[in-house]
Homo-oligomer: 147 residues x 2
């Protein structure tokens, strides 16, 4: 299965993108994918419901977002309250950088979550017997709108 390209220099239609991940093309998926691509920040399921009312049942949106995550179309990040938010990768998030830490900024005022540029971290010592698989860096504060 071919892995779709999601950055600005390699345009691929959302339909192609969905198919490239083995997902069937439906109105709900196309709409949610487009919304995520243009939102500029990570969206919760409730955000999607608010932005696209009447689009689909709550459970369907839940499963669409879940499918996006499982198939690499979006990544999941928790906001300050532990609620899942979803964001597609953008042009700043390509290639080898995926192996670095994908940093996120959480606004403690409005709760919004923004993807930041990947950063490289110094090695962190972990206890014996522990196996490291991934790292997440969360920066917290206030976004430009709330500052």
């Amino acid at each position: 299965m071919q892995v779709g390209c999601m950055n600005y220099f390699c345009p691929m239609s959302n339909e192609q993108l969905l198919r490239s991940r083995g997902l069937r093309v439906t109105n709900t998926r196309k709409a949610v994918l487009q919304l995520l691509q243009h939102s500029g920040k990570a969206l919760s399921q409730a955000d999607v419901e608010r932005s696209l009312p009447e689009l689909a049942d709550r459970v369907t949106l839940f499963r669409v977002l879940q499918a996006f995550e499982e198939n690499g179309l979006a990544h999941r990040v928790q906001d300050a309250h532990g609620v899942s938010r979803f964001a597609v990768c953008t042009g700043t998030c390509t290639g080898g950088h995926h192996h670095d830490v994908h940093a996120h900024f959480r606004c403690l005022e409005c709760g919004d979550v923004y993807c930041l540029d990947p950063v490289s971290l110094p090695k962190v010592s972990i206890p014996k017997g522990f196996k490291l698989k991934a790292s997440q860096l969360h920066l917290e504060g206030s976004c430009s709108a709330c500052s």
Copy 2:
């Protein structure tokens, strides 16, 4: 108000510790504080309920943990599912290190969360107008028991 010392080299009874933060001494608070001190990892409210059944109502435990956080007796960290877990500071977490990032390890198998030694992070560029207040580094993988 005096700030209580929580490391191994400056013993202070849990009663003194509670009073030093302006909290009244109750059986529930003493028991939960002791549990957190000896658990070696961050505990969720459900963990506390399981470890100390019949101790108190779940709302009371919720408020006890909330009071601990608000009064600096414990810090809150989310597990991989966004559920709050609480941990007291240990001997490795003293003085100036509090200004560094307090790293946590999340086991993706059993869900347990462990406090790691503080680490210093490189500067991360954040968007214009954003104000940074705190940072959290989450390492994910499997703990020694699950590896």
